[in-house]
Amino acid sequence: MNDDIDLDRVWVNVAAQVWRRHPGRPERLAARLLRSPGLARALFTTPSLLLPWLIASVLVLGVGALTQVGAGQPLVWLLAPAVAAVGIAYSYGPGLDPAWELSCSMPVSDRLVLLTRAVAVFAVNAVLGLAASAAALGTHAWAGAITAQLTFAWLLPMTAACALALAVAVAVRSAVAGAAAGVGAWLALVLAHSAIDHGAVDHGAADHGAASGSLTDAALASAVTDANLYLPYLAVAACCAAVVFFATRSQRGLL
């Protein structure tokens, strides 16, 4: 019999097995894809990718899709960029992550975590938006002509709204500010652009001796369908990406 058994060592080995967390299949897959278990773990702790948040996003877009089917209001395309912008603002950052200071001293770069989480949140919201969009489209005559355009066109403003939300959240160090900026800017743009579009329609109708009522669905959707806005959306997204890059540069707060 060996009397020199190191019970502490035995216990540590037992504890290691008892306390160990068993990552799910998606996390294991992400670890393999990202080639970093740390980055995968950081991804799966993203607040806006947790189940309650995802359920909330599905509910909002689901209600949007139902409203669109029922009343013909183009809600999915208006909601999707806003929902995604909030999700992105709440993905990662100094105003959100309680252990931000500690995260900044880790070999897995905080910029990489930010990028991974932002891409994942964007992809999830894009998929949810596309599903809602596909479910709601084709039910109204006005949508028929622009179905293909509308199915994908909102991805561009969504990119711009998300980039703006992320840039503000990172620069101001506040997830609330980022979400407010993304949603606010998108809302302001939709209303302003649809008012302009509606004015043009009204003017045309008056020329023909007719009058139109409140904002039309097509006017509301014009922030998505107007091809003239595509380039500005891309420009905004590029500028915001540059802001994020600058705000997370190594010599600002971090080495």
Binding site: D8, W11, V12, N13, A15, A16, Q17, W19, R20, R21, A31, S36, P37, G38, R41, A42, T45, D97, P98, A99, W100, E101, L102, S103, C104, S105, M106, P107, V108, S109, S250, Q251, G253, L254, L255
Partner: protein, 251 residues
């Protein structure tokens, strides 16, 4: 030397938090003493590669943290307990320590045992599966220490590690850092003089962003002879050096 600072300065706007500090520190437990606002936390954040110096040169573990590749290598061998440890309330103790072990890029197969060892070393074994939101302030501090030591770091930086610990836990903590200091460089920033006396092999005292004393705890004690402010010999030494430094600044 694991830490080499040459004329390091860090400014925030017009405020000079760290003012021309030069230090070389090897393995052992190094105490960083000073009153609030002396610049200890800013210095520690620079050592943790969280904050770059405004000027001067900094080398950690024989590497330049200004270079991305070297910085990553330093961070793999670094343990850091910030003054204010943010935590995820829904994580368990073991999950929190595991999270940072993974972010420190430890090989995945080594992580469970490293987590168990770190949790046991801070005597949190019975609470390993407890959610962080259910823990007391002292326990959370120990969770912070556990994540800092999980990778068996060569450079361990602890900012006010004994805040919230009861006397018994502080005694156990001092024993732990003495043990860690056998191999690694442990820097303990504190304003609790007795922690330094009991655990540190060397001490630096900071005031107004500058290092105004460097020596052994015994040498600091000797500076207090004839000085009346302070309840212990070491406190009298601390007060005497601080008073002299303030007089020099105001002169």
């Amino acid at each position: 030397m694991n830490i080499e600072l040459t004329d390091v300065t860090r400014t925030f706007g017009r405020n000079k938090a760290v003012d021309g500090v030069s230090l070389a520190v090897g393995p052992g437990v190094f105490g960083l003493l000073g009153p609030n606002g002396a610049g200890k936390t800013s210095l520690l954040r620079m050592l943790a590669t969280v904050l770059p110096p405004s000027s001067g040169t900094l080398r950690l573990l024989d590497r330049d943290p200004g270079r991305a590749g070297a910085r990553t290598e330093i961070r793999r061998r670094l343990g850091y307990l910030p003054q204010s440890l943010g935590y995820y309330p829904s994580f368990t103790v073991a999950e929190f320590v595991e999270y940072f072990a993974l972010l420190k890029e430890m090989p995945a197969h080594q992580v469970p045992k490293a987590v168990a060892t770190a949790v046991e070393r801070v005597e949190l074994g019975p609470r390993a599966k407890a959610r962080l939101r259910t823990l007391s302030g002292g326990m959370l501090r120990r969770v912070g220490i556990a994540q800092a030591i999980v990778n068996d770091p060569d450079l361990l930086l602890l900012d006010e590690p004994t805040a919230g610990l009861d006397p018994e836990q502080r005694v156990a903590f001092r024993s732990l850092i003495r043990d860690l200091g056998q191999q690694a460089t442990v820097v303990v920033s504190t304003h609790l003089v007795e922690d330094v006396g009991a655990a540190c092999t060397e001490v630096a005292l900071m005031a107004e962003g500058k290092v105004v004393f460097r020596g052994t705890p015994g040498e600091l004690t000797a500076r207090g002879e004839g000085h009346e402010v302070g309840d212990s010999a070491l406190e009298r030494g601390y007060s005497a050096v601080l008073a002299a430094a303030r007089k020099q600044v105001h002169a």
